[in-house]
């Protein structure tokens, strides 16, 4: 397993601003993912954060809106840019720590956009 810490745990932001969410893992991992969970919904994969190269985005998500950094094997950031109320969600960092086909999640960052 892996211990994953996310910051901030929650935030309230104004429309048009940007917020960067940090994800720290207690061990080196190859596969790191960012998910969005809209209110009352399941998880939707935003992108895979690749170390040393650009993130791989899923359909419907673009780098300009959700820029991702992955400077090393234990850390990643997700920025939600030019926020609107529709971006109000929980954003979750996840890793496949042992490449065993099992995901471990951070506690999530609950974002509210006014």
């Amino acid at each position: 397993s892996a211990v994953i810490s996310q910051k901030p745990s929650r935030d309230i932001c104004q429309r048009g601003t940007s917020l960067t969410i940090q994800c720290q893992v207690d061990s080196q991992v190859t596969m790191m993912f960012w998910y969005r969970q809209q209110p009352g919904q399941s998880l939707t994969l935003i992108a895979t954060a690749n170390q040393g190269s650009e993130a791989t985005y899923e359909s419907g998500f673009v780098i300009d809106k959700f820029p991702i950094s992955r400077p090393n094997l234990t850390f990643s950031t997700l920025t939600v840019s030019n926020m609107s109320p529709e971006d109000s969600s929980i954003y979750l960092c996840s890793v496949d720590a042992e490449r065993a086909g099992e995901l471990f999640f951070g506690e999530g960052s609950r974002l509210t956009v006014l």
Binding site: L43, T48, L92, E102, L103
Partner: protein, 110 residues
């Protein structure tokens, strides 16, 4: 596109009752995971099943993977208020990203 369906979507039961939650797909998965998510927390992995027909038990929880590896069930015996949460199934195919079901929201009333 691989899709996972879960039923029921919502379930409210009394403490001590038994329940079964289902996860179904028309696609074959190499593995299937069950997660539980409590309010304000991230999903926590409960179990992974990889073999068709496999049954795994975790205290009062019994998980089964269908013979064809397209479906799974989660059975809870004598539910307790601490079992309350969102139960998510996720299917994995080697080399591809996980697919999550829509979830079953369980409420166990004392």
């Amino acid at each position: 596109t691989q899709l996972l369906e879960q039923s029921p979507q919502f379930l409210s039961i009394q403490e001590g009752e038994n329940l079964t939650v289902y996860c179904n797909s028309s696609s074959v998965f190499s593995s299937l995971q069950w997660y539980r998510q409590e309010p304000g927390e991230g999903p926590v992995l409960l179990v992974t099943v990889v073999t068709g027909g496999e049954v795994k038990k975790l205290k009062r929880l019994t998980f089964q993977f269908g013979d064809a590896r397209k479906d799974s069930s989660l059975h809870i015996t004598a539910a307790q208020p601490g079992d309350t949460g969102l139960y998510l199934c996720a299917g994995g195919v080697y080399g591809q990203n996980f697919v999550f079901g829509p979830g079953t929201r369980l409420s166990v009333l004392p």
